[in-house]
Assembly symmetry: C2
DNA sequence: ACATATTTGCAATTATGTTGCAAATTTTAT
DNA sequence: ATAAAATTTGCAACATAATTGCAAATATGT
């Protein structure tokens, strides 16, 4: 359990606890985004469901992770890499969901393009999710 | 309850029932996308929750309505206007969600732009949702 | 009008998420 | 190092959303 993770918690003014270290560690080693259920399963020494909900919520508020709006309306989370801050995210990258392996991936370098909206619409935030086959799964 | 709605059901090889007529009618007269809860409330002579779930699922399978992946992971539905077919949708338009009034709108004329993905990713379907203020709500 | 096929509503079950609170843990002050 | 204060955790209870099996009701084809 790396020292860097502990530091991240401290940098964000959060108490350093086992659950938080363990969950953050999962995110750092995960191949893609994680759902609540993924975390619940992977947690070696069991973490309570409620603690997981609260930890995810706290991480999200602190700008450590962001939620990903997938097409099937399931909630997934991934680390923020865009120096998000407490209370305000700016992860404006595209997300990819593999229809075969189910992996959900942040395409950190692919920005969500602007679109021209009809008269009167005032955009604030855009989300884009692409479904298809990831590099591991295309045939 | 228009005859056209009845015909739409027949054209799609579905039995014509009160629930279906009533729900389809709602979609035709709604100002935006509808959530399961919206339908449950509006139904004049009460339709069972389960029937609503099943009706929405059937409509979706038949290519009559499509789901909208909102940023807050709530499920909304709207009529397909892009001649979707049984089993395969191709609603490739942008969706707009108003942060003030909550209305969710299909921007049928705004196509989801293509994005260049990293090497190896094979896109199949893209979704884009824009949040902001709709024409009625901007100040 | 009847037989057949489909849909509906109900009850039971499962999944997902939230809240209050006491006990445990972590942090801060001494 | 110890104690007090602050925060976090786990449990139980609750709330909400969604799914399933099945019998009764309704719709369809003849
Ligand atoms: Mn991301
Ligand atoms: Mn739409
Ligand atoms: Zn894959
Ligand atoms: Zn609005």
């Amino acid at each position: 359990m790396s020292e860097a993770i502990k530091d991240l918690l401290k940098k964000n003014h959060m108490s350093v606890t086992d659950s938080r270290l363990q969950i953050l560690d999962m995110f750092y080693h995960a191949p893609g985004a994680l759902a609540h259920a993924d975390i619940e399963k992977k947690a070696s020494d069991k973490i309570d469901r409620v603690t997981i909900y609260r930890t995810l919520q706290t991480f999200e508020e602190k700008g450590i992770i962001h939620t990903i709006p997938t097409a099937d309306n399931s909630v997934k989370y991934a680390l923020c890499k865009d120096r998000c801050e407490e209370g305000h995210h700016h992860d404006n990258h595209v997300h990819f969901v593999c229809d075969k392996c189910g992996k959900t991936i942040c395409l950190d370098d692919v920005h969500v393009p602007e679109v021209k909206l009809p008269k009167g619409f005032q955009p604030q935030q855009s989300n884009m999710v692409v479904n298809g086959f990831c590099s591991d799964c295309r045939s």
